[in-house]
Symmetry: C2
Subunit: 481 residues, 2 copies
Amino acid sequence: MKTNRRDFVKMGTVAGMGIAGMAFTNSEAFGQKKDKTKDSVKHDPNIVRVGFIGLGGRGSGHVHDSITVGGIEVVAICDISQEAIDNVQKIIAKNGMKAAKAYTGSDHSYEEMVKNEELDAVIIATPWEWHVPMAVASMKAGVPYTGVEVSAANTLEECWDLVNVHEQTGNQVMILENVCYRRDVMAILNMVRTNQFGELIHCRCGYEHDLRGVKFDVETNNLKIGKEAHSEAQWRGLHAVKRNGDLYPTHGLGPIGVYLDINRGNRFLTISAMATKARGLSKFIDDHVAKDHPYHDINFNLGDIVTSMIKCANGETIIVTHDTNLPRPYSLGFRVQGTNGLWKGEGGGDWQDAGEQIYVEGKSKPHVWDKAEDWLKKYDHQYWREKGEKATGAGHGGMDFIMLNDFYDAVRNKKPVPLDAYDAAAWSAVSALSEMSVTRGGALVDFPDFTRGQWIKRHPGFGKDSQFPTDPERDFINTLF
Amino acid sequence: MKTNRRDFVKMGTVAGMGIAGMAFTNSEAFGQKKDKTKDSVKHDPNIVRVGFIGLGGRGSGHVHDSITVGGIEVVAICDISQEAIDNVQKIIAKNGMKAAKAYTGSDHSYEEMVKNEELDAVIIATPWEWHVPMAVASMKAGVPYTGVEVSAANTLEECWDLVNVHEQTGNQVMILENVCYRRDVMAILNMVRTNQFGELIHCRCGYEHDLRGVKFDVETNNLKIGKEAHSEAQWRGLHAVKRNGDLYPTHGLGPIGVYLDINRGNRFLTISAMATKARGLSKFIDDHVAKDHPYHDINFNLGDIVTSMIKCANGETIIVTHDTNLPRPYSLGFRVQGTNGLWKGEGGGDWQDAGEQIYVEGKSKPHVWDKAEDWLKKYDHQYWREKGEKATGAGHGGMDFIMLNDFYDAVRNKKPVPLDAYDAAAWSAVSALSEMSVTRGGALVDFPDFTRGQWIKRHPGFGKDSQFPTDPERDFINTLF
């Protein structure tokens, strides 16, 4: 068991080693309990032993979808709510699996879990401010693979924590950015890599999602937010009271970061961000509570719409939008534009959506959009071709299944995670950097280089599709490094 | 005649006088020929006497559409090309009108025209670099109304020239921004003013138009640009060789400026602009000429896509896109978003276009876009309700007709122009300011206040529709000034 354990630990990469590199840091120096395998029974090495921290809507969904993916055992679960634990035990039982060991009772019960249990992987789905402390604890305890929900980090220090602890321990952390696995997003990745759009020039993305009903519990003629509310309204809306920036950039930036090879031959250099006035949430309060309700005294710092412009090392620009306080249909506002054409993905991922349009010079009728569907079918990604049927019914139209399958594939085969600590740091950094820029009225702010200069020689690795290999012209530059 | 002439001159406004103000500067101090009416025959004061400078595709279209509007006489025309003059004389003759006096022979023939002729109005449709010198000459010569094509000005100094000469002479200049008169754009203006979208928060617009075939003459296996080319390729592409910024912002910013009451209770404060790498035009050359062609040595300074973020005094932000070097379907990329809903206008103005979508909370099905058409029909603007039938067949789907009708209405009724020197300056300034910001990597640049502080008390005036008066709540603030 301990040998097997060390195998897991040993293969953690540091950026400097490239995607095939090995790290030799002994993770046991970082405080994990050394005797925790004492009571273990013999373990099938093909079964991934998972612990789940955070069992709300998102976390319990991950338990369910992980079981659907298969080849895993839910060893331990952790939440401050006994109700959430009971709910997940039921999911486990319904699937004919043995009950997980439950950790609860304190905000810090997760520390006991990662120290006590012999885990191949931990999945974290908690409020934003807990993501990094938990991921750090998991890596330091010697868990070789930690998956952390988006946005991974809220501050620059937290971004560095993810990177530094990954490098110090040799253990890996994956940002669980499910939109990277959305079916249209992956088909577009195939189109990008096979050069349908030519050299990429400009991208757009965003989180354009009316979250007023998430930031508040909405009841008849009343609202609740913060400690007196439930679910995400307990904490998510509070960020809008205090912070002003792009609080949730990764659903858009994840896919765009992959398309643009960020941290793998390219990187984000600078950002300028502006916020509008804040009106949407106050109006929502006005529309729902009596005139003398104390909520009228809340001043929201978050501008209703925050837009960020990012410049990349290879000369591309990106516009990122955060739009969560106003009434509107959902969109991630994608655009991927190159010298040969572009994709506009403004729907919710539905291939028939009017907002899904593609134009490829020489193939589309001149100056006329193609509906995206035929293109997306043609370039449908291997992950979906092979697992799409099984994914159906899993969270968010199946992309959660495809994502977890990729995560567990890395765990089981001791591979580098497809979306790693550097991705988590670079994408999440937009939150903190946009807050800085907004405060200065849109002044430029520099991105840290979380790879410490290694981005120039790291190679793209996410979502390779054997049927659609990268165009040699596009890939040529990688052959020099 | 001279009395009539002075009436025209006298009513020119300066910003400080508000929309109903009068200027008493004697325009005759600014060099117009005082005896130029000597040879005039008796003139019907209801007929607007117009001179046209620039008779290419755009200018000859204006002659044609002006005749269609009616109530005008083409007194004089000016172009360096005799062919262009002959062509316009034919248009005039075909309409049974007497030939115009032609000015040609030198780049500066227009100076003779505005000095010699008794003109109520001049319309300028020449290469960008001639707009301001010609408009200034026209105002200084005492022409009470000058219409100048977009973008009105290329540099900040030119923006100030338009404003200062307008104020010094009391003569007016209108920026001929036809998109302000597009049928959907005017219907949206009615929706904005009647508060369908609530308080405006964020807008987008742009010029997303594949101009590669305009910047170059495209011939079989060959291209031409600059002095050896024809039409716009003679000059328009050259701006892309030397400049790097949003070269053509007003088709988008005109409508958005009107919606946001820019210069009339609001103003642009700051801008941050980023440019991508420049690839599109070089690739176009690669695709069209032999390997040893000297055009391969041209280095284009213009980034393929330039995006600008603008912050407004009242807390709104605007994203402006300039995208003219890459293959793509046409779009002006509109978005107008408020506390109650939004319009996305990403088509070319066709109401049935999939890119035309509207969402209004409480009226649209929750979280689902309405196709825009029903909304646009309901809020169809008075100008189009009354003149739409006659406009059909005029330039750009009729909006040129509606625009010229509004211009001549101001001339005939001695009213302030609906889009004035301050609008021309503020909108066009984005060209120069974006170039400054791009050069500094996206650093913030401040907008000049071309109204010299008067924007806080100027009132909106463009495109009032008697059937859709401004919502009193929206208009309240104006009643204080």
